[in-house]
Subunit: 429 residues, 2 copies
């Protein structure tokens, strides 16, 4: 007897007494076909896969799909069908947003993995769903197969979350954890592209735009603030190089793309970018395409979630779980959130790496510029083995605001000996 | 403006339009008073704390509690009151079970942190709740403040979970992680008792009974099998000593109390006890009273949850989150489970530590006894610095069943040179 067969037993299952939910897939790429696979293999009670919409849908038809699935390349046709739930997996703001709005307006429910749409329009779309009697679920939009959103909504609703720290972009984590092992950025980006982890244009991922969209969703659910994602200015990981990992190692750290947000005394800070993280922090332990989220609550302290944040199957688990929640009548714990502005910067220590054509007096000039902004130096590290005409060295500074440091660096950037603008990374303590 | 105030905003909150749920606390110890604290400080919409039942309740009355709370030492009075939800925090099978049954029979809902009651009677109580129109929620019963149960029910329902590995007892984790730092068992047990982490009689925790109750709850929700907790034979941590940590370290491991269960080809294995865990495993990273659970799913791979598994405030977060879910009309995703037997043993490598009065021929006799049970030796390790009349040494063996190994050890136990029965620990790979 298969122990784990979703359909095996009747019992008090509320879904069993009703008509199954009719489910239409919008998008039949990696995630869409994984969702279909799970629905076909597990046959979960209460769900029936009925439609697929995709461009050039003929090449998508699969021999393992039930014969009665409607395959369509006409979005209107599927939106007008008797499907109860639209699974939106096209991504991006448009036309995905139009489809989601039209589905909700028709009283259908929507399950989506679209972080961008939810980050920018989630509040409006949830309101629309509530008005029209449908539901909007997006457990797959943040951290894929890790149940961060259900865990937060259902299990941490009773806490007062004050801080979020996350590794929310698997592409960046793959690149940075490979660079930690010695690979250089260009090579590992190509490897990530070959493996399907990175797009041909990787800006959305490496530039931090994907992570900030996810962070803003978590801020709404955890910190209960509605922020404009564009207010979070991301720092790209592209300027991190092999020598930075070498210096980070000397400081007992590694480098990860971290998304963090904090509420303190009614003020809000949020940032996304490559940061030095202590080797003893859980964030340093996540490797490859893994995601991790740490919430700090006033009552419950730190809670850590980690696992596979992306990929067809893990993301599909989140989608099917959302479908099951709909089929079983589970409702969101709607904790009210309020519009808010990101008003303050984190005051944290920083790592600044310079690349210079060596000459006397450099350190004196740099330290004077920092002193003018009242920034205290913690350490100056210069490793041997580099040529004098392309000499890297690192200054770490005591907690300060990035804006003060940037002012100092703008003044430092005029120095003739600098071969490039200094790299400035936050140190997460 | 307080950013995170649960009561601050109206919006489409489904709870706001209804009468708040009237909440009675059964038990006003550490967790109960933490629940009350959160309800008073956060004033979550949709919830109203109305009653406390406790023996000698007069000494429990708190000046920060609202004046209209009914304080009672009469369970019947509170069960007969107009409270909609009973929060059962007394623990144990009786009288807690009687109160829970009576509350459910009266059509009330119950929120409980009682792992023993849920492990032994959860299925029956859920059926009763469904019959009478109430709800039973027990997010606090496993891993306290870590949202393992909501994450599993709402976020991993779409996966097919095959394996559970967990650190489910904070007392054992505190003791073992302190022993890892060099403390001996008796001293650290006293420390744990002084800090309130361990009971005067610590058997329930150190003997593995608490962890097996929690494991059986997770097996029902994740592996979807209903097992009798008594079928899981726990191994106590009390026979682990400082020298075992020293040997474990040489093997690249540490020792943790691990609860694990697995479904493979329709067969079920489950075990609880001290195990060697690799230093690279997340299980090795959990320190102090932390809990951790790793689920392995067919589609989503490994998902890790960690945080504070016990203590007043974290457990109270789980209780209040369950209350909010009730107030907001959230319903469980009821995945059917089937009665099952634990039919197989794990086949894993083992660590066996002998303590002998040294004489020639010991290793030959031990290895012959293992060979008779067809158990292959992986390594024999003997560290210097111990006296010949109380000499410890360790044999590790290739994957085998514990029962075969126990047969060999029973034969070995008759050897005159043995000072105590050899300690046999599973190695988690």
């Amino acid at each position: 007897m298969p122990l784990n067969d979703l359909k095996s037993v009747p019992s008090g299952n509320s879904a069993s007494s009703k008509q199954p939910l009719r489910v239409a897939l919008f998008g039949f790429g990696t995630v869409g076909s994984s969702v279909a696979r799970i629905l076909v293999e597990s046959q979960p009670e209460g769900l029936r896969w009925t439609h697929v919409f995709n461009r050039n849908v003929a090449r998508k038809r699969s021999d393992w799909a039930p014969a009665d699935i409607v395959w369509s390349e006409d979005a209107d046709e599927v939106l007008a069908s008797d499907a109860d739930v639209i699974i939106e997996l096209a991504g991006g703001l448009d036309p995905a947003g139009t489809w989601v709005r039209r589905a909700l307006e028709a009283g259908k429910s929507v399950v989506t993995a679209n972080k961008k749409l939810i980050a920018y329009h989630g509040v409006e779309l949830e309101r629309l769903a509530a008005e029209k009697g449908g539901h909007l679920k997006y457990g797959a939009a943040v951290a894929g197969g890790i149940p961060v959103i259900p865990g937060l909504e259902q299990g941490l609703a009773g806490d007062h979350i004050r801080r979020i720290e996350g590794i929310l972009n698997g592409t960046c984590n793959f690149i940075l954890s490979r660079m930690e092992e010695g690979a250089d950025y260009a090579t590992v980006l190509k490897e990530a592209q070959a493996k399907g982890y990175a797009e041909a244009d990787p800006t959305e991922d490496v530039g931090g735009f994907d992570a900030r969209a996810k962070l803003s969703i978590l801020m709404r659910l955890a910190l209960r603030v509605i922020v404009d994602p564009d207010e979070i200015i991301p720092q790209s990981i592209t300027s991190v190089s092999a020598m930075d990992f070498s210096y980070a190692r000397d400081l007992g750290c590694t480098i990860r793309q971290v998304a963090r947000a904090e509420e303190k005394g009614g003020e809000l800070a949020a940032t996304v970018g490559p940061m030095l993280v202590d080797n003893n922090s859980p964030l340093a332990w996540s490797r490859g395409t893994e995601n991790m989220v740490i919430f700090n609550g006033r009552y419950g302290g730190d809670v850590v979630f980690s696992g596979h944040g992306a990929g067809g199957h893990p993301t599909a688990v989140a989608v099917v779980s959302d479908l099951l929640a709909l089929a079983h009548g589970s409702r969101r714990v709607e904790i009210p959130s309020v519009p808010a502005k990101i008003g303050v910067e984190f005051e944290v220590p920083h790592y600044i790496r310079f690349l210079v054509n060596d000459r006397p007096g450099i350190v004196a000039e740099i330290t004077s510029a920092l002193a003018r902004e009242k920034i205290n130096i913690r350490a100056i590290v210069q490793k041997p083995g580099f040529p004098a005409n392309a000499l890297p060295f690192v200054v770490t500074v005591e907690p300060c605001r990035s804006s003060a440091l940037e002012r100092a660096l703008t003044s430092i950037a005029t120095m003739d000996c600098l071969l490039e603008r200094p790299l400035n990374l936050q140190i997460l303590e």
